[in-house]
Symmetry: C2
Subunit: 216 residues, 2 copies
């Protein structure tokens, strides 16, 4: 009994070490990459912030590139999930509102991930190009189709679904990407919850009205 228990405890403890360190490193790495970019981030700086020796980082991730890709890989998933929820049978009034809200929330809650993603795109998506051409593109085409059906049902004005999506993406994404700049301009240390809510609401209003979608 004691043996088993002890063994179990130890086994769990050992697994926890790995899991814990992995998580710690990924979290810290995400912060650093978001702030300084891939080239501006050193393994040493990650190590320092995580309170681990540099060699230990390299023990879990063979190279810096592997670590970065690992961080990246989780981001695209998050990005795609929200879009899937828009379907043709929903009314755009609800669907778009919800999507915009989620995207802005994401900019707030996963600001680092969002910024890394943006930075990646900005520099030509060297590590993401393939995934964009497959996963994201499939989802994109499908969502454009949904919008086309909304238009066919005359639930909204006939406008380019592609450009509409670009507009929604960029304006919601901006609350992560340019949050700092925005806060400077608005004269505060950082954007608060209200700012995000106001932003989401404004984007929603403008998009819905702009697309000729009658509200209520």
């Amino acid at each position: 009994m004691t043996d088993t228990k002890k063994s179990v405890i130890k086994r769990r403890k050992s697994a926890d070490i790995r899991k814990g360190n992995l998580q710690l490193i990924l979290t810290v790495a995400e912060q650093r990459f978001a702030e300084f970019g891939y080239n501006g981030t050193t393994i040493s700086s990650i190590a320092e912030q995580a309170n681990l020796p540099k060699s230990n980082i390299l023990y879990y991730f063979k190279t810096k590139e592997v670590l970065y890709k690992e961080v990246l890989s989780q981001i695209l998933k998050i990005w795609l999930v929200d879009m899937e929820e828009m379907t043709a049978d929903q009314h755009p009034k609800e669907a778009l509102r919800q999507y915009i809200l989620l995207k802005v929330r994401q900019s707030k809650d996963h600001s680092n991930a969002s910024r890394i993603f943006a930075s990646e795109l900005l520099h030509g998506a060297p590590f993401l190009k393939e995934k964009l051409q497959t996963d994201l593109k499939v989802q994109f085409i499908s969502t454009c189709q949904v919008i086309r059906e909304w238009i066919a049902k005359q639930w909204m004005n006939p406008i380019s679904p592609e450009h509409l999506l670009f507009m929604i993406w960029s304006s919601t994404q901006a609350y992560a990407d340019y949050g700092l700049q925005s806060s400077i301009l608005m004269g505060k240390a950082e954007l608060d919850d209200d700012d995000f809510e106001t932003g989401a609401e404004l984007i929603t209003q403008i998009v819905l009205r702009g697309c000729g979608i009658k509200q209520l």
Copy 2:
């Protein structure tokens, strides 16, 4: 006569060397910084692309940082100019349309500059913070005031000028920042003139309708 002429020619030639090299370096540097970011860009790579020895770059720009700041400094100016043109006596219908058009054009014609600016903001504007707090903020506040006056005149719905500007900035800026991603999704090598026009028109329509600005 011959002497003077010769002298003049030589003087001009000498000045031209400086001017020409300066311009060449700045242009190449802008490309590299846009594509690889500050840390991802090496002086050697700039030198190579400009067909100059590395030392020569350092002769004109004491350090990499000086060169980068020089590139940056020209960008903010461009960014501010268009905004100045929006004034309270104009009707937002015209003013916003024009501003959006200019901003999208800028994303097309000065894509590198736009991307450097975006990248700078994305990483907390380490080199631009001061200028943002002064120049850009002044212009921002003033433009917000213009919008407030439009609202007071009931030329548009009462919406937050700050967030409206963020929305316009980000959605127009996106045509530079995410141009590559967009082209991938739309299945072409790069966005063509039509895409930019369509984008500008769509943003304009949505913003004008979204703000409750009657067109014509």
